[in-house]
Symmetry: C2
Subunit: 551 residues, 2 copies
């Protein structure tokens, strides 16, 4: 038997109607993943000191549901990525979904054809709430059908759906295989009631269904404002729109001219005008804003979502490598101001991030490669520089945009970003500052050259070389690190000439950088063994470290 791996702390929760076989399948799944198994019904029985079917008649439905909720909360808290078999009604409640989302659980809906489930339940119907008095299998089938219809808005939220016909071992194999692939394609960002999941798919076709699972469009179709720049809209607009429409959303597409210049309060205002002037399909409170594109679009459309109707649900659909691994997660939205970049904005966490590898195919070579500036940054943040090793090993595959290599790298970057964001969602304390590695010089270089000469990732790459050199000069990183960073960036086609940073205009701009405290520059340096330290250095000292060659 294959042993599957599951991220240690993500619970795997089996959901489904009576007769789907959750409690028989759960131990089999637990065995395959090598994880503990919790059955919420058992916990409820031990709390209530009576069998499940005795609880509702004797203690009432609301007591039963409260005990079920408590049992679910405990099972999710168990914290070892338990496989949890839930009672059929345990997830039919908004609070339960808040718990599930906050725990980062992967939810699997088990269901078989109604007659199969009815046949399974009929002999044991006396032990099931609400089904005990069905006299014939046909009557039971009717009940189950009604139950399924009633619970559809809740069951429909599950991450994956599993055909539950056949023997428990067969079903468990299906669960294990689907869950493994879903776990490998997703990273939860656990922020309490603002939790969400980053999903990585092969193509944009999954967007609509994934969003429908997150925000069930109830009754009338929910409205979506799909915001993209003209270039991205040309390449991917139709795919995104049709995916959303087939999942039941009404879509209003709004495009804007590509480029950093569109990241302004004026553009945001224009987009808002177009959304609010859009007649019958104009968004309302509760409508969703979908940001389809790179960092500019995520920031701009995110800002629109944060201010429209005092906050609309936002979906980030990053289409560049850079946006996938960095900007799409974390809730930063912003527009630029003549006085500086990103000075106007808000923290507004998305409800879903849906990245698709196929969108990377249309990126031009330079823009694609620039993304590796941030990838190498995460490589330096990763304990033992494991991600750096991986990038070095896979550099050819990455340059060839091979999906398997990209998946590994993107997933690891997002895991790290998520971990930082979970610790410091609004950048109040230290943790999130580590992500500025390479950015002090990188942003100064971008500013000094009017944001036209260098792409962000290229500038960050150069900033990383500078940071490695300063780290070595301060005795925090090995002297060989600079050469290693240069070499991997070079192999990925990024500029590596650190003397580009030594222009007076760049150094002068460090003085107006927002990371300044007093006269010293707060500088993030990489340290041996992975990770960073904050160093507070006077500008002249930074400069002299940088001038001294330490190779």
């Amino acid at each position: 038997m294959t042993v599957f791996t599951v991220a240690a702390d993500r619970p795997l929760v089996l959901v489904g109607p009576p007769g789907a076989g959750k409690s028989r399948v759960a131990p089999e799944v637990g065995r395959r993943f090598g994880r503990p198994v919790v059955e919420t019904d058992e916990r409820v029985e031990s709390k209530a000191k009576r069998p499940i079917h005795g609880i509702i008649p004797e203690l009432g439905e609301s007591r039963f549901r409260a005990m079920e909720a408590e049992a679910l909360a405990e099972a999710l808290r168990a914290g070892e990525g338990a496989v949890v078999a839930t009672g059929g009604g345990a997830v039919c409640d908004p609070k339960a979904w808040e718990l599930l989302r906050a725990s980062g659980a992967l939810t699997a809906l088990l269901q078989a054809p109604l007659d199969v489930m009815a046949a399974r339940v009929f002999p044991v119907r006396s032990t099931r709430p609400h089904l005990a008095d069905a006299r014939t299998e046909e009557e039971l089938l009717g009940r189950l059908s009604h139950l399924m219809a009633e619970r559809e808005p809740w069951y429909g939220r599950c991450d994956i759906e599993i055909d539950a016909t056949g023997r428990p071992e067969q079903v468990a194999s299906r669960v294990a295989s689907a869950a493994s692939s879903a776990l490998a394609s997703s990273v939860p960002v656990r922020l309490g009631e603002r939790s969400y999941v980053f999903w990585l798919s092969d193509n944009l076709g999954e967007l609509g269904e994934r969003l429908a699972r997150r925000i069930s469009p109830v009754g009338a179709a929910l409205r979506c404002a799909l915001i993209a720049d003209e270039t991205v809209a040309r390449h991917h607009g139709d795919a995104a729109e049709s995916s959303l429409r087939s999942a039941g959303f009404e879509v209003l597409k709004v495009t804007f001219p590509p480029g950093e210049r569109s990241k302004s309060l004026a553009s945001a205002s224009e987009i808002i005008d177009r959304l609010l002037g859009a007649g019958a399909y104009r968004p309302q409170r509760g409508s969703v804003v979908v940001a389809l594109g790179g960092g500019v679009t995520g920031d701009l459309a995110g800002f629109v979502a944060s201010t429209l109707f005092r906050g609309c649900p936002l979906v980030q659909v990053p289409t560049t490598l850079l946006a996938m691994i960095d900007a799409s997660v974390g809730g930063k939205t912003a527009v630029n101001h003549p006085e500086g970049k990103n000075l106007v904005g808000a923290f507004h966490q998305p409800v879903l991030v849906q990245a698709s590898l196929d969108t990377l195919k249309t990126l031009d070579e330079r823009a694609y490669r620039a993304g590796f500036g941030e990838v190498v940054k995460y490589g330096l943040l990763d304990p033992e520089w494991r991600l750096l090793d991986l990038v070095e090993r896979d550099s050819d595959a990455l340059l060839a945009r091979e999906p398997a290599a990209l998946r590994r790298v993107i997933r690891r970057c997002v895991e790290m970003k998520a971990a930082v964001v979970e610790k410091d969602p609004e950048e109040r304390e230290g943790p999130r500052k580590a992500l500025n590695l390479g950015h002090t010089f990188g942003q100064a270089l971008e500013a000094a050259t009017g944001y036209e000469r260098w792409l962000h990732g290229e500038a960050v790459g150069l900033g990383l070389i500078a940071a490695a050199r300063v780290g070595a000069a301060l005795g925090l990183a090995p002297k060989s690190l600079e050469q290693r960073v240069c070499s991997v960036l070079g192999r990925l086609g990024l500029p590596v000439d650190v003397s580009l940073l030594m222009h007076e205009s760049v150094l002068r701009l460090l003085g107006v950088d927002k990371k300044v405290a007093g006269d010293a520059v707060e500088f993030v340096v990489p340290v041996a063994g992975g990770g960073t330290k904050m160093a507070s250095l006077p500008v002249f000292e930074l400069q002299s470290h940088l001038l001294s060659s330490c190779r």
Copy 2:
């Protein structure tokens, strides 16, 4: 002995250095307020199973501080407005202040001249952490002085300061009297880490100090952007500015033309331009935005604060009755859009609301009276219509702007607003909708008349009459309620002719109101005994209820 009253669930926390007499004073204060007394040191001793002075040497300082934090959390949770005597170092920690704020505690700093405290502690120094080895009273005095300096940033956050010289009973009397008056002048809004307090003072002079207590300006002076319309700036700008300056803030004043037209994305953008272009004094991340004015200013400056640097701390200084009792609390910020009011905005809770009765003196009569539209709304929301009784009883005093009458009414309205906001901070569920009582028709009337004919409070007043009539027609409110509402509004100088609402343009506008669901209007109606119910009514039915006279 006078028995003072204290809001049942606000803890009163005594803070101060060793020798301030906290544990001797606490029981006396508890007796005066009729409240239980908790001493955190005692709880720590029982947890640690050893005396306080034995804990640090034996278990280490960090274990001691952790136990202290736990004891403080328990004392605050006790939930009966306990009088809590804290260990001297228990509040010297950001987490402790988060707890204190989230609990709505009133904090009182007890301190006496250093020599007085040293003389008190010397004989028992062996029982105090860090002081046991002081050989002379002078040495102890030196230690205490150092301790006080070190703890100043923490002690300086306390709401009130009490002279702790004299016998415990004398000190307790001072605490009881200052605490009673502070409790009567403030309402906590408990929103976890976003908690804040509404303070009501006699004049604006308290603003600076109150803000300094909330956000201690450390090291370099903290920057304040003081935003007001030209009229309010003329009346109160200097008072606010000099109060802020004398508390150590650097102030940058920005004004804009008065009136609803300034509540636009264009004005917000202009204010942002002026703040960011302001040279050495321009706000930075962490700078405070102070909104000095009525509802327009609170919404506009609040919106600026919510977007500048992805969110700046915001202080609401409401200068109108309407803004004091309603808009200043709850975190709604917004600008208007040609397609509708308040369509663009964000939820951004203030860190402090500081209202001053003296600002009401400069309001013109009509604007002042309009505030009572919202006051009467709260009157209908209050259980048993107690606030309505109070307003009826005090109407002459209120018209004469008498401080005592105003204090009672403002305080009660804010308490009710705070209770609703605490339950539903971002208007996701039902509770906050109750605050829309009177607003469905009120806002339609304002819109139908281009926001020029009627002030908001006047329109709401008319909406309340309509709501009372519909409530009676649905059998939810007594038939006499409409007459009662008319009569109190009339006495307060507000329009009461409900036929003003019967224009076609008003009724048509109900169809585009944001509270619409399907074809029916979601309508808030007052119910007998106080409070509201939601009724979903087709527009024509609303109209026919309104046409039928039910007097």
